[in-house]
């Protein structure tokens, strides 16, 4: 197939060619950026919490008298534990995707000079790491003696804690974290175990805290830790158990108010946490689909027009020996060339758009491999769109050449 005659013909239709090429260029720019956004949303939604989400629920109570905290905790743990299907009830400050419960700046030294960021702390009563389903990769789980009673403030003065692998690596790159200590104010933490994963409560991608920057501090429940509970049940029974639990709480703890928004199963909390991401992804997919549809429509329209306009010429070419395949390939080549112009312009546009947005709004860099992927998608789209009109052109009989227009 010779490209030269196609180019000559296109030159005669400069405006139409330019329009389609511009449309392809814009489509390429939008497509690359939209797909990139979808990919980054989807990867954010893959956040691994590190706990047995499908078996867990969270209950938050409010409005009780802090003086009755011990009593309330005992009543709730016993009362919820009696619900059929409940495997464990533990006092915990929060859960992944639950309410933000406490972030503390930590330092490697007591003097507070070597600052290492602000991880989130999980505080839990005996048995909590096991109920969460944390996976230990080094060291040991806290034993009964590690769960201390907090006399003043929020944390014990010295505690033996669990950290995630990611956070251990952040504090002591390349070293064994076991037995090492770090501080928050005057409170000392000593690492006794490293867990595979435990995500923060409310992960903020734009924040400075990593998704796995967490520390589990074993404590005894008390006034500083009351009213928030972890419920573990069989995944198949979890929904029913949570409904029963809320009903039961009216009797178990009439002095407290259930926070209905926060008290839910972990899958539900997770769904709610990523709601905005899902909505954005849905809208972007909608935009991409309609964008491809509209672009294809434009190509079909213009190609049909050209086919109709060139009926006579096609007839002449057929009469002097061109095969149907030649005609088909002519239109395919023409489309390929136009789309290629468009893509070349579009790649530039996509990159400029991304660079501008990055400069002003701190968006992540568009990876280069998105450009060829976008190009291939548009080439395929162009060829599919032109196929119908091109086949119609190929069916033009040579006899048309003999008729006057």
């Amino acid at each position: 197939m010779q490209i030269k005659p196609v180019l000559v013909a296109l030159k005669k239709h400069r405006l139409a060619t330019l329009l389609i090429a511009l449309e392809i260029a814009l489509a390429c720019a939008v497509l690359c950026n939209a797909v990139f956004m979808i990919a980054s949303r989807l990867s954010a939604m893959q956040l691994v919490s590190g706990v047995d989400e499908s078996s867990l629920g969270f209950i938050q109570l409010g409005g009780f008298d802090p003086k009755s905290a011990h009593d309330l905790n005992a009543r709730v743990v016993a009362g919820l534990g009696a619900i059929p299907g409940v495997q464990a009830v533990r006092v915990i400050n929060s859960v992944p995707f639950g309410p933000a419960a406490g972030a503390f700046g930590v330092t490697l030294d007591q003097a507070g000079k070597q600052f290492r960021g602000v991880p989130e702390l999980y505080l839990g009563a005996p048995g909590t790491p096991e109920a969460l389903g944390l996976k230990l990769v080094a060291g040991r789980m806290p034993g009964a003696e590690d769960y201390q009673t907090v006399l003043e403030g929020y944390l014990p003065a010295n505690s033996n804690v669990l950290v995630t692998r990611v956070f251990a690596e952040h504090l002591w790159p390349g070293e064994d974290a076991l037995g090492k200590t770090f501080w928050t104010g005057r409170n000392q933490f000593r690492v006794i175990g490293v867990v595979a994963q435990l995500s923060v409560q409310q992960y903020d991608e734009e924040g400075e805290r990593g998704a796995q920057w967490t520390v589990f501090v074993p404590v005894q429940p008390g006034p500083q830790l009351a009213g928030t509970y972890l419920v573990r049940a069989d995944p198949r029974e979890l929904d029913r158990v949570m409904v029963d639990a809320r009903t039961a709480l009216a009797k178990i703890a009439p002095d407290a108010v259930v926070d209905h928004q926060q008290s839910d199963t972990l899958p539900a909390l997770r769904t709610r946490f990523f709601q905005a991401d899902r909505a954005l992804t849905g809208m972007l997919v909608g935009v991409i689909v309609s964008l491809l549809g509209v672009t294809a429509l434009g190509i079909v329209g213009l190609a049909s027009f050209w086919v109709a306009q060139r009926r006579k010429q096609i007839g002449i070419r057929r009469a002097i020996g061109a095969t149907r395949g030649d005609i088909l390939r002519y239109f395919q080549t023409e489309n390929f060339l136009i789309v290629t112009f468009g893509i070349a312009l579009g790649m530039l546009l996509a990159f400029v758009l991304n660079a501008l947005l990055m400069k002003f709004y701190e968006l992540p860099h568009l990876p280069l491999y998105y450009l060829p992927l976008g190009a291939i998608a548009l080439w395929v789209l162009g060829q599919l769109a032109v196929l119908g009109p091109a086949l119609r052109a190929a069916r033009v009989p040579p006899v048309v050449a003999t008729r006057t227009a």
Partner: protein, 389 residues
């Protein structure tokens, strides 16, 4: 004449209904998508209090002790109770309030406990943010000083608790204490909720407002960002090394704003001299839009989304232009017939456009020009009678 052209246009559109429908649909999609994202952008980036946004200032400072000060750190958004109280005592601004969010439980008319969001603030809060009152009024500055057991409730809560009737003078039971209701808010929603972005950036205003001094006295629970430099048995104590109070000041003129900034510098210098820290310290007052910008209230995703939607609209328009072009070029023969036969030469030039198919905008322009010619010419242009087949 316009009616005639309209008739021609409709006939032309009817010739290929599917194509027409698709073009209309494409433009509709483009406009729909871009309007949606522009609306989102407008809501997110809008000025929540346009009449006053240049006169309201969020005060923030870095007075951390030397061992917690790191060059290049972000300025903390909140103040310690010590600093907030010092600024309030000096009262250099036209209005000023230190505040915090919280939550408490009140008992509804049906005896059901309700968990409500609260704001602990000062009497100045209400005039400063132009808060409308349906019944009663805000508490007075004396109530702040006296830790009076008073509260202002939202219209919603008034509806829930008192059936929407004037509840001024009634009491609100809070953890064994009773608060006297002095005012009920009218409709008031700030979006974004700029005065406190740490407790949900968008959404309704709080349901109960009471003096900060009263809340501290009653030891009501607070919520929001709390950062401490050391451990303190009570992080809300007057001298606790914790930053948790939001501070807003109203300064009616740029001159006052400049003077206030100077006052803040002097305050910092005074703290330095007092031996509280030896680093340079920092204090600033950001107006509402600067504050929203600094907090990045509009997510970068939304901005990108807006650009993408506008790009999509561009594609839809280009597409329609292309299709129209194809459609009209195909009938260029028929259009040739349409060249007006009698008109002033300038009108003829305008009436015989090379781009007959150039889209609606051009058509409108042409029509305007033609109307102008019509006014300038004494005899009407002959109308030809051929119709499209």
């Amino acid at each position: 004449m316009f009616g005639y052209y309209l008739d021609l246009a409709l006939r032309s559109l009817k010739r290929n209904r599917v194509l027409t429908a698709l073009m209309v649909l494409a433009i509709a999609l483009g406009i729909g998508t871009s309007m949606t994202t522009l609306t989102v952008m407008h809501v997110l980036s809008g000025d929540p209090i346009p009449q006053k946004s240049a006169q309201l200032f969020r005060v923030r400072m870095d007075v951390s002790p030397d061992d917690h000060f790191r060059q290049g750190d972000k300025v903390p958004d909140n103040l310690t109770r010590r600093d907030a109280e010092a600024l309030l005592r000096n009262g250099k601004a036209d209005h000023q309030a230190a505040m915090s969010a919280g939550a408490m439980v009140v008992v509804s008319a049906q005896g059901e406990p309700l968990r409500v969001a609260t704001r602990y603030t000062g009497a100045d809060f209400f005039p400063m943010f132009d808060v409308p009152m349906r019944y009663g009024q805000a508490w007075r500055p004396e109530d702040d000083a006296a830790r009076a057991r008073v509260a202002v409730i939202s219209g919603d809560l008034n509806e829930q608790l008192f059936g929407g009737k004037d509840s001024v003078g009634k009491t609100l039971q809070v953890g064994g204490q009773s608060l006297r209701i002095v005012g009920v808010l009218g409709d008031w929603a700030m979006n974004p909720r700029f005065y406190d972005l740490s407790n949900g950036q968008f959404g309704n205003s709080e349901q109960v407002f009471l003096p900060l001094s009263t809340a501290l006295d009653l030891k009501l629970s607070t919520s929001g960002s709390l950062t401490c430099w050391g451990s303190a048995p009570d992080s809300r104590a007057p001298e606790a090394p914790c930053i948790w109070l939001q501070y807003w000041a109203e300064l009616d003129t740029p001159a006052k704003a400049a003077a206030y900034r100077q006052y803040l510098q002097n305050y910092i210098a005074l703290q330095q001299q007092g031996g509280r820290f030896s680093h340079p310290g920092l204090a600033e007052a950001l107006d509402v839009m600067q504050w929203l910008d600094a907090k990045g209230v509009v997510p970068s995703d939304v901005r990108l989304q807006t650009w993408l939607a506008l790009g999509f609209l561009g594609i839809c328009l280009l597409n329609t232009v292309g299709l129209l072009l194809a459609k009209f070029l195909r009938r260029s023969g028929e259009i040739g017939v349409r060249a007006p036969r009698a008109a002033r030469s300038s009108c003829t030039a305008w009436s015989r456009p090379a781009w007959w198919g150039w889209p609606v905008a051009c058509w409108g322009w042409r029509w305007l020009r033609w109307a102008w010619c019509w006014c300038g010419t004494s005899r009407p242009i002959t109308r030809h009678t051929s119709t499209w087949t």
